[in-house]
């Protein structure tokens, strides 16, 4: 035990890990050019282990974890508890808080988009990256019954079933990016729905994740009718797949994973202001109504001025201009660690200033040495 502590306390460990972290940062930055930010981030920074071909190496998360532990053990060093080193101690406490905040954010924060047309409202956030397959029972007139299958389930040969759903879905193939194309020849008899006339062709994944159009080929089993067969679906499909089994009507769609909010947002007006006579944007803003329990609150969200409400933060992120009016895109973030950088930077600032004020006069003492 003592040996382990001795090893973890070593400044050498810190030197080695921070060097490795620098290597990772360089590699991860360069990789963004080829694989895009999201993939590079997952591979190098948010990972515990990176595989360089067959060689496993510590990933960014693991390296930062080691640094945090090393930093914690710093306080077990008896030599540092001196008034002269107070600044250093404060500085390191700030550093630990920053790392803890980073860890919390990395593990528990969630982010997504909220897309609202002018005049419309929405109460859910769409994930940037993950998809879900929604099977909606629309038989009843006064409510819909949702069955949601998350992306991790959408893998080859997985069987998706649920007690409220009287058929089974077997995943045949999931595409990260695909293109629906019209069939040139007759489809085989096993194909149903959209696939009778179209086929999904797999495309190379785009660097920017939001440019991908995911698609799914699945088989419906156990209906005992001619509905059994192979179906296809893709993101943004205008006509959703509907089937009715045993007098129950279902709609099946592939969509971005949704997180529902305990309130709704209505977009009243989106404004884009340009510098006169140019195409340079001066500001973007969305005037919204926050609807909760029947009460509406009018709020303006603009660049650098987000709305914070119930742990969620809404940022003006983008917009779409269409023939029927404007659509705002709000980035929505829920982050438990967001206060840590603020607190830790203040603590570190105090620590470093304290140390500098002790140390600098000594380091810049009036020089008496002569050039000889």
């Amino acid at each position: 035990m003592h040996k382990i502590i001795k090893f973890l306390i070593k400044p050498k460990l810190f030197a080695v890990t921070i060097m490795w972290l620098m290597v990772l940062v360089v590699l991860g930055t360069l990789a963004q050019k080829d694989m895009g930010l999201f993939a590079a981030q997952n591979k190098y920074f948010s990972s515990w282990i990176i595989w360089f071909y067959f060689l496993p190496m510590p990933g960014g998360r693991f390296t930062l974890f080691i640094i945090s532990i090393n930093l914690c053990f710093f306080f077990f060093n008896k030599n540092i508890w001196k008034i002269k080193k107070l600044g250093i101690i404060i500085l390191h406490i700030g550093g630990i808080l920053l790392l803890i905040g980073g860890g919390l954010t990395g593990m528990f924060s969630s982010e997504g988009n909220m897309v609202i047309d002018e005049g419309a409202q929405s109460n859910y956030v769409e994930d940037y990256h993950y998809m879900e397959l929604a099977v909606i029972n629309v038989t009843a007139t006064d409510f819909d019954d949702y069955i949601i299958f998350d992306q991790p389930l959408l893998k080859r040969d997985k069987i998706l079933s649920h007690e409220n759903c009287n058929f089974e879905i077997e995943v045949v193939k999931y595409f990260e990016n695909c293109l629906p194309e019209k069939r040139s020849s007759m489809a085989g008899i096993q194909y149903r729905g959209m696939l009778k006339n179209f086929m999904l062709t797999e495309l190379k994944q785009e660097k920017e994740n939001n440019l991908n159009r995911p698609g799914l080929i699945y088989q419906i089993n156990n209906t005992g009718t001619s509905l059994d067969g192979i179906y296809g679906i893709f993101l943004g499909q205008t006509v959703p797949q509907t089937i009715s089994v045993n007098n129950q009507n279902y709609v099946i769609t592939l969509r971005r994973q949704r997180i529902y909010l305990p309130f709704s947002i209505e977009l009243l007006d989106f404004k884009k202001v340009l510098y006169p006579g140019t195409e340079i944007a001066k500001s973007y803003s969305s005037e919204i109504n926050l609807l909760e329990h029947g009460a509406a609150r009018r709020i303006l969200i603009q660049m650098n001025e987000p709305l914070r409400y119930k742990g969620y933060t809404f940022f003006q992120s983008s917009f779409i201009e269409g023939p029927e009016g404007e659509t705002t895109v709000l980035a929505v973030v829920k982050n438990y660690g967001r206060l840590f950088p603020y607190i830790s930077s203040i603590i570190m600032c105090i620590g470093l200033l304290f140390h500098l004020s002790l140390k600098l006069p000594e380091l810049f003492k009036k020089s008496k040495g002569k050039i000889s």
């Binding site: 930055t29 930010l37 590079a40 980073g102 500098l356 810049f364 003492k365 020089s367």
Partner: protein, 628 residues
């Protein structure tokens, strides 16, 4: 004594702001790229695009123009007043021999051609140009891009030279009857706009003319027809809309300004706009007459017209200040003083060390004063913090470097600070001039950057961090060189080492908080503190490198010699984070995507690696040979 000198220098350099100056033709405000700026800035940038420089050098001018240099504004008014004579200036700078050949031009050693030469050459290539205009940017060859550039320059030039033709007195009224109707004297010259204002008086005459047979036309009828012909001819210039100098009638920040020709077209000219146009007309007239008294009076009226009805649109004092800044060339003054400081210091190593070093230090401080004043003026003119573009970051980092060096010199008084300050100031100014030649260095900011609070905190802190880091790296160089010079002088070397360590702590303070503040800004604007964006990673690398070096040094794993090498290598990290990440062309910090800098970066890195490791091993062997 010292304080007195510094005070005197400051007073001299600040006198530009202290003495109020009369409004003159350079200060006429114009709206371009979202900003209201003096005409002087506008034409300088136009000339820069076409000609490659901000004023016309003597070799370009024909012999009859005797002056050594022609300012952009004088060139502009000359081509505006005599649009047909603009060919006497060969201002089209075409360097590519392929383009010169394809335009059928005769090769000129100065690469300069006049507009009619270029225009006739382009006429033969029109089909080709129309063809490549439709193509996407990445399919164009270098030749295509250059020929499109020449084409757009010719259009720009034409627009400039005809931009005020509607206000020039070009239509002579000789006939008594018409002169009487228009209430002018026979022989007077009127402008297009004047005649348009009197259109009501002329229209009955026109009607009569149309109802008459040509054989029955009187002399005044013939003249009227002639006038109509000239009007029609001038009307062809209405494409020239580049000069947006007339503010919107109701002073509204978000409304576009209009050019005189656009107003001629719109037919709804507000009373204030009309007054401005008439004053401009008078001004042009006075320029033609070369009547300075009249033109001064007219310009005073122009200023008056601008200040009262269009109040709140812009600050006329800032416009004047910008014109003054254009002329003052403060950064050229500061680089000259830095270089002078360097030479004086070099001489001081040979003779009269104390006196020359002192003078040299004053030169450095003088350069610093100009440098600081230049940045201060930019802050006042733009009403925003000093750093928001790559160019601004360069001049700001150089300022920080020189300040650090001056403090070091004040502390040590042995010339080391002067040496470092002159190098940092000189080199970075030189790099900055390269960026300034891209056009207007005072641009408007995109929405996310348009936040004075964060520009003032995050951006200035991180650029201060760059400056202090480069300073610490340069100290590393100096330390190694001093060991090579004399490895025995341990007391002296200890001091330099302590300075270097202090500078690194100082640099870490700014890079660390600059980076964290950047994260906080990102959290405020986009909702995430850290996004692994290349620029963020670059800043993180600097911080990590410095933290690593400090820990290696504190724990004794690295000796002062290695620490110096580490700080030299830190320069490479800084430069890569500052310029290098822009080469990746990914990420959010897209303010400075540049392609031509890769070669320069590689050179810098090679230089630092060779000199860093070279001096490190040399210093090591020197020290070992001594101890042995």
């Amino acid at each position: 004594m010292k304080l007195c000198n510094i005070l005197l220098l400051l007073i001299i350099s600040f006198s530009g702001i202290l003495l109020p100056r009369d409004f003159d033709h350079r200060d006429i405000p114009i709206h371009e790229n979202g900003r209201i700026k003096p005409l002087d800035t506008f034409v300088r940038n136009q000339l820069l695009t076409i000609y490659g420089k901000r004023s016309i050098k003597s070799k370009t001018l024909q012999k009859e123009i005797s002056s050594t240099e022609l300012s952009a504004i004088d060139w502009f008014f000359d081509i505006v007043l005599n649009p047909e004579e603009g060919d006497k200036y060969s201002v089209f700078n075409i360097k590519n021999p392929e383009v010169v050949g394809s335009l059928g031009l005769h090769w000129d050693p100065h690469h300069l051609y006049n507009s009619s030469e270029v225009l006739s050459g382009l006429k033969n290539q029109l089909d080709y140009i129309v063809n490549i205009q439709g193509k996407p940017e990445n399919e164009l060859t270098q030749f295509d891009k250059q020929i499109l550039q020449v084409y757009s320059n010719v259009i720009r030039y034409q627009e400039l030279s005809y931009s005020l033709s509607c206000l020039l007195p070009m239509i002579q009224i000789q006939d008594n009857t018409i002169a009487q109707i228009l209430s002018v004297n026979p022989g007077d010259k009127l402008s297009y706009y004047q005649l348009m204002r009197k259109a009501n008086e002329l229209s009955p005459l026109m009607e009569k003319l149309l109802n008459k047979n040509r054989e029955e036309w009187s002399e005044s009828d013939h003249e009227l027809q002639h006038i109509m012909g000239v009007l029609n001819e001038i009307d062809q210039d209405k494409f020239a809309r580049i000069l947006k100098i007339i503010p919107p009638q109701i002073g509204n920040q978000n409304k576009a300004w209009l050019s005189p020709w656009e107003l001629m077209e719109s037919r709804t000219i507000g009373p204030n706009q009309e007054k401005l146009l008439i004053t401009l007309e008078l001004f042009l007239e006075s320029r033609i007459e070369k009547n300075t008294v009249k033109s001064n009076a007219v310009l005073a009226e122009y200023e008056d017209l601008l200040t009262h009805p269009f109040n709140g649109l812009f600050n006329i004092d800032n416009i004047k200040l910008e014109t003054w800044t254009n002329k003052a060339n403060l950064f050229y003054k500061s680089i000259s003083l830095y270089l002078l400081a360097f030479f004086l210091l070099a001489i001081s190593w040979m003779t009269k060390p104390k006196l020359l070093r002192r003078i040299s230090f004053f030169c450095l401080l003088g350069g610093l004063a100009f440098h600081f004043y230049g940045i201060l003026l930019r802050i006042i003119i733009m009403q925003r913090p000093p750093v928001s573009t790559l160019y601004e970051s360069i001049i700001f980092v150089s300022l920080i470097g020189v300040i650090c060096a001056s403090l070091l010199e004040y502390n040590r008084k042995d010339g080391m600070g002067i040496f470092m300050g002159a190098i940092i100031g000189g080199v970075l100014h030189f790099v900055g001039f390269g960026y300034a030649d891209d056009g207007d260095t005072l641009g408007m900011l995109v929405a996310v950057l348009n936040s004075n609070f964060w520009l003032a905190t995050h951006v200035t802190t991180i650029t201060t961090g760059y400056g202090t880091s480069l300073f610490a790296g340069l100290l590393g160089h100096v330390y190694l060189l001093q060991i090579i010079r004399n490895p025995n002088n341990t007391e002296y070397l200890k001091k330099v080492n302590a300075n270097m360590f202090g500078a690194t702590l100082f640099a870490l303070f700014f890079t660390l908080f600059g980076t964290i503040l950047g994260g906080i800004w990102a959290d405020q604007s986009w909702g995430r503190f850290w996004g692994w964006d290349p620029k963020e990673n670059g800043a993180l690398l600097i911080v990590m490198w410095q933290i690593m070096m400090l820990h290696l040094r504190i724990t004794g794993m690295v000796k002062p010699l290695g620490f110096a090498l580490g700080m030299i290598l830190n320069n490479i990290v800084v430069i890569l984070a500052w310029f290098g990440v822009n080469l990746l062309s990914v990420g959010l910090h897209s303010y400075g995507f540049a392609s031509g800098i890769a070669w320069n970066l590689a050179l810098f890195i090679a230089f630092e690696l060779i000199t860093g490791f070279g001096t490190y091993y040399w210093a090591k062997s020197r020290r070992e040979s001594i101890t042995a």
